[in-house]
Amino acid sequence: MKKPFIILSAAIVFSCNDIENCDTNDQLDFFILRFYDLDTQDPKKVAFQTSSSGFIYGEGFYFSDSTAIGLPLNPDEASITYQFDSVGTDVTHRLTLSYQTNVSIFDPDCPPSFYYSNLDTVNYTFDSLAIPGTITNNQLTTNVEVYFQ
């Protein structure tokens, strides 16, 4: 009688323990920007050279043939401006976003996780813009949608 009781108690204790894995953390330290055609409202494939003040990648971040991009936000600032230089043309767009930085410890064995909330626009040069996701996490596939011709 004593042995099953001990096994049952141990099972209850272990079942209450969290199973942590750094990969199961939902929080993201970047926002997801999606591009749309203003007229058709369809996803638009673009090629941009992206830059921002303080951006580590020096001359910027190049991407082509993409309808979406993940861009980092600076934890030390409350807003950030990205410049999008269209590759092959002289068209340039700017987007300034404000946000709140949040830091949490998901598990002591994982690095601290940065995520951002209260995403909002300060100004932009795209034709239209929407923010369907004001917080950066894995549950959302889009934070910012921009529409342009």
Partner: protein, 219 residues
């Protein structure tokens, strides 16, 4: 007509029967004068301080017994450090106040099997130092919450048994409920002194106490 008179008389007789006085054996009135005080410390917390490397915590408990009610006061301190690739420090103090109802009727033994309620508060601060790349180069990031306050309620199940003379040992199982934190900034606090991890709003805990009993009434 006879049926009506008979029914009325029957009802009246029933009420009259219920109205009669019954002799009730006299119960002794409970004596609420404090009859003992127990003072002790949380052995699990002190054990973690001695054998653990990343925590310093101590807690003392005072229990004043009046009839079957024990007034409980817990006072504690806690300093935690976490992180391999960063440093997270959390330090502060806490208290719990509440009462336990003892189901062991013998006052002489000092033993207790009790259920209780607690109100708890913690005042603390935490800090995170991290060096890493968040897309803007390898930089130092410092976040601090300097004036954090937390409160919660507890339902407890307690057991205290006499070991020798006036020395007692026993555990307290806690169900910690409706936790609330005030004063958080950008950094989300990971620990609350006296409560533990903040991941859950409701949590459980287990503590083991070593206590000394001081009788207040002459036997």
């Amino acid at each position: 007509m006879w049926r009506f008179i008979f029914s009325s008389l029957f009802c009246i007789s029933l009420f009259t029967a219920f109205g009669q006085d019954q002799e009730v054996p006299l119960k002794p009135k409970p004596v609420w004068k404090p009859h003992e005080i127990k003072i002790g410390f949380n052995a699990i917390r002190s054990g973690r301080t001695v054998f653990g490397s990343d925590i310093l915590t101590h807690e003392m408990q005072v229990a004043l017994a009046m009839h079957l009610l024990n007034i409980i006061i817990d006072l504690g301190i806690e300093e935690n450090t976490h992180g391999k690739t960063y440093t997270y420090e959390n330090r502060g103090s806490y208290f719990r106040v509440g009462g336990d109802w003892n189901f062991v009727k013998s006052k002489k033994s000092g033993n207790a099997i009790s259920l209780g309620l607690r109100y708890a508060r913690a005042e603390f601060k935490d800090q995170l130092d991290y060096t890493g790349d968040q897309g803007f180069g390898i930089l130092d990031y410092d976040f601090e919450n300097s004036n954090l306050k937390a409160r919660w309620a507890e339902v407890t199940f307690n057991l205290r048994g006499k070991v020798v003379s006036n020395f007692y040992m026993g555990f307290t199982a806690r169900w910690q409920l409706i936790r609330k934190i005030n004063g958080e900034g950008q950094l989300e606090t990971f620990d609350i002194p006296g409560f533990g991890n903040t991941k859950r709003r409701n949590s459980t805990a287990f503590d083991y106490y070593l206590m000394w009993r001081i009788p207040l009434l002459k036997q």
